[in-house]
């Protein structure tokens, strides 16, 4: 059916190899894209999805090379083109949006300069009309003061804004195909929904096809017409989104679908009395020091009160910059509140003398790549917290480390490894182990899974649940990933601009959100949910319900 249509892009038996004798990064990949169609390449890191897309636009990084296959864009065979011809196609016919908005715009050039670049290269427009075109585009994407924006530099915009601008400058050339490589992975939920919405709007207007690369299946299935699931460089399954969702054939696709979180059945928290009582905490970041003068302090957390019972998991959600991380860091003593109290078992842990109590609170950090000392072996990392436990012999310590290694699902052979020899998921396990080895009563988990692949996320969440049952710690789970939150939290606290706007049980907050911000957050998330009968439902967007008809 697809074959009879004139495809916009046709990829046939594409193979990409690392170097001359290296493994295949892309192995015999074939798919077609019709004009205006949205095709998603889904897979985990290292599955070859990015390399496949880069091969299309002729931008493979050096050791990678196309060893065989065909890449047809309309009537043109891209592989045969010399670099001169390929440059004419890049930008003009194939546009690309990259993952990291913080580095994909040149910080030393104004937005206007960067938007004009493509137009100068690929069109004969004069400077005046280039400027007009850029202005219209900026207005189109909802930049209020477009005139000023043209003369502004990238650092004046937030990540979401930069990605919008990036998108605008790419779409200015009206490409027939847009390659979007994880365009929203680095953004928080709200900005994510915003950028995706804009991307769909612009491409629909111009009839541009989108090759959407993502590891986030639930995001992709909401928007794509067709999904190609990749693993180890091979396409394990491809087909219409609906078909993939409702009748996955490959085991791996099923595994991915299973990794979609659903609301968990949680044991109720053990304690009734609050373990931690955060009372009217306000935290300000000092303003920048100018010559003889300080700019006013920035209030990150504003009069927040929150209780966590023993064994309870409270999720703290909100957009980036909402102060949720700062609040979490204040509990473990990494930032000092300027007002308020944090009571741990009734003891104010902000006072220096109450170190023993403060050490009962431990933290798991977001980025497993940077949270482990690259020069320390795993056993050294795990034993370090025990330095502060009095009365442990070296055998005791060794025993504790062994136990923890087993509990976090790593064997003893990992003890002598270095962090760089571990995968992201394994590292995060070590980070969890380090937080737990001293048996703390409270764990602050700061976005512990957002840097991981989907199936790994699921494993880590499962591990976390199991460890919580075993160790019985209470947890403040900071996340913007609402799906994960729904699965493991007893209660949810929503933060906006440093204020707590809503607190309630998970069911209450997810089913009957009260505050408008909570509602926005929920609708921006991709709560693709698997129902008991095997069908899927998009919450809050009931119109888009997909159900199975047997």
């Amino acid at each position: 059916m697809m074959g009879t249509m004139t495809a916009l892009l046709s990829v046939r038996n594409l193979s990409v190899q690392v170097g001359i004798e290296g493994p295949l990064a892309v192995d015999d990949l074939s798919f077609d894209m019709a004009p205006g169609e949205i095709v998603a390449l889904v897979g985990e890191s290292g599955s070859g999805k990015t390399m496949a897309a880069r091969a299309v636009i002729g931008l493979l990084p050096p050791p990678m090379r196309v060893v065989s296959g065909q890449l047809r864009l309309g009537d043109v065979e891209l592989i045969d083109l010399d670099s001169e011809r390929l440059r004419q196609i890049r930008g003009a016919q194939i546009g690309m949006v990259f993952q990291e908005p913080m580095v994909s715009l040149n910080p030393t050039l104004t937005i206007g300069e960067q938007m004009a670049e493509g137009l100068r290269l690929h069109t004969d427009l004069n400077e005046q009309s280039i400027r007009e075109k850029s202005l219209t585009m900026l207005q189109r994407i909802g930049i209020q003061d477009a005139e000023r924006c043209l003369g502004a530099y990238p650092h004046e915009f937030s990540g979401g804004m930069r990605q919008r601008i990036m998108l605008a400058s790419v779409m200015l050339l009206r490409p027939a195909l847009l390659i979007a490589d994880e365009p929203t992975t680095a953004l928080d939920t709200l900005a994510q929904a915003d950028v995706i919405g804009l991307m769909l709007e612009l491409t629909r207007e111009q009839g541009t096809a989108v090759l959407f690369i993502s590891h986030d299946l639930s995001l992709v299935v909401r928007h794509a017409d067709k999904v190609v699931v990749m693993r180890h460089g091979k396409a394990v399954e491809q087909g219409a989104t609906r078909q993939i969702l409702l009748g996955p054939k490959a085991d791996y696709t099923r595994q991915l679908l299973d990794a979609l979180p659903s609301r968990g059945e949680l044991a109720p928290p053990t304690g009734q009395k609050p373990l931690v009582d955060i009372r009217n905490v306000t935290i300000e970041h000092p303003g920048r020091q100018h010559f003889l003068r300080r700019s006013p302090p920035k209030r990150a957390v504003d009069d927040v009160s929150l209780q966590i019972a023993a064994g309870e998991t409270v999720a703290l959600v909100g957009g980036s910059g909402s102060g949720k991380t700062t609040l979490g860091r204040s509990v473990v003593g990494l930032v000092k509140p300027c007002a308020g109290q944090i009571l741990f078992e009734g003891v104010d842990i902000l006072k220096a003398g109450n170190r023993e109590h403060r050490l009962q609170c431990q933290m798991i950090f977001q980025d497993p790549m940077s949270s482990l000392d690259p020069r320390a072996r795993i056993a050294e990392i795990l034993v370090e917290p025990l330095r502060h436990v009095p009365g442990l012999s070296s055998q005791d310590r060794e025993q504790r480390v062994k136990t923890v290694l087993k509990d976090i699902g790593l064997g003893e052979q990992f003890a002598s490894r270095l962090p760089h020899q571990l995968s992201g998921g394994q590292r995060q396990r070590v980070a969890i182990g380090r937080a737990l080895v001293r048996h703390p009563k409270l764990v602050i988990a700061d976005e512990p899974i957002s840097a991981l692949d989907m199936t790994i996320q699921k494993q880590i969440l499962e591990l976390f649940e199991r460890l919580q049952a075993q160790y019985g710690f209470a947890c403040l789970f900071i996340s913007h990933d609402l799906a994960a939150v729904e699965r493991i939290a007893h209660r949810v606290a929503v933060m906006e601009h440093g204020k707590l706007v809503e607190v309630g049980s998970t069911a209450q907050v997810f089913d009957h959100p009260q505050h408008p911000f909570t509602r926005r957050l929920l609708s921006a998330a991709n709560p693709l949910q698997r129902l008991a009968d095997g069908s899927y439902q998009l919450r809050n967007t009931v119109t888009a319900q997909i159900t199975q008809h047997p």
């Binding site: 860091r329 473990v332 003593g333 990494l334 170190r355 403060r358 050490l359 609170c361 431990q362 933290m363 950090f365 977001q366 980025d367 940077s370 949270s371 482990l372 000392d373 690259p374 020069r375 320390a376 370090e384 917290p385 330095r387 502060h388 087993k406 699902g409 790593l410 064997g411 990992f414 490894r417 270095l418 760089h420 020899q421 571990l422 995968s423 394994q426 396990r429 980070a431 380090r434 494993q459 499962e462 591990l463 199991r466």
Partner: protein
């Protein structure tokens, strides 16, 4: 539950780099060069072909021959003997200078980078003021105070080189500070000092080795520049630097006088740089196995 942990253990670990059992090419060449030069220096303490200080006015400016392998200088002294004797002085001075600068610079840089605030601002103000002087000028001034001697040179050059080390260490510390494992160490309850010594200092080693190896070269050359200005190791004692310096007037007529000390300086630098590269790879957990 059990199956979960089992699947995880069975999951392949991140691929290990192929073990590097044979020392690398760099380590081999660099190590051999350094070993030979050290042997040469040690030999000089017990035996040299001729007395390096003995004048022989009958045989001035002899080109290399069987009797004098590397020729004789303007006073008829044997160049080879002087190079052998000079090896010890030159390498010893450079080694001490580098050690001094690295130690002092690392300490100051660690403190400045980790404490930040006023400590940092004050230390860096002094440091940047020192950096603003050309190193050799600073050393000259210091030498004028402490007087020209072997250890005077070490002190003067060491102080002159310290600011560069401070800069490198401080910037490394500043970037390390933002990494989450430093925060993790604080959350665990480790003291600032422990965090600094255990987690920050070791991670500064890589840039320091690169700096130290190039500084070794600067030190040899600066010592020769100081000798040239009359503030180096005073004659008649031989160092590679002052041999090079005193050969200048005769460069056109007696090339070997400048060529051989220069060759040995170059060999020492090549050896140390290669060895430094190998050492850096060895000490970096991401590169070695």
């Amino acid at each position: 539950m059990k199956s979960l942990s089992e699947t995880v253990v069975a999951a392949p670990a991140a691929p290990l780099r192929r073990g590097r059992k044979i020392p690398s090419f760099n380590a081999l060449i660099g190590g051999t060069l350094i070993a030979l030069l050290i042997l040469l220096a040690l030999m000089g303490t017990v035996w040299t072909p001729y007395d390096p200080l003995k004048l022989d006015l009958m045989h001035r400016f002899n080109p290399p021959s069987w009797a004098h392998w590397l020729g004789t200088d303007e006073f008829g002294r044997d160049v080879l003997s002087r190079i052998i004797i000079g090896a010890k002085t030159s390498m010893w001075i450079s080694l001490l200078t580098v050690t001094f600068a690295i130690t002092a610079g690392t300490l100051i840089g660690l403190v400045a980078g980790y404490m930040r605030g006023w400590t940092d601002r004050l230390l860096m103000m002094v440091n940047d003021a020192m950096l603003a002087f050309p190193g050799i000028l600073l050393a000259l001034g210091l030498l004028a105070i402490v007087g020209a001697s072997q250890y005077g040179i070490v002190l003067a050059l060491g102080i002159a080189y310290t600011p560069a080390v401070v800069r490198v260490v401080r910037s490394t510390v500043l970037s390390l500070r933002e990494r989450e494992f430093i925060e993790a160490s604080r959350v665990i309850g480790n003291s600032e000092l422990y965090t600094m010594l255990k987690h920050i200092a070791p991670n500064c080693v890589t840039p320091l080795i690169v700096l130290a190896t190039s500084m070794f070269g600067w030190a040899i050359l600066s010592e020769s520049a100081l000798s040239f200005l009359g503030l180096g190791v005073p004659p008649p004692a031989a160092t590679w630097g002052n041999m090079l310096a005193s050969s200048r007037p005769y460069l056109a007529t007696a090339t070997w006088l400048g060529f051989f000390p220069g060759l040995f300086i170059a060999l020492a630098l090549i050896g140390i740089n290669l060895f430094g590269d190998a050492l850096r790879d060895r000490l970096d957990p991401r590169m070695s196995q």
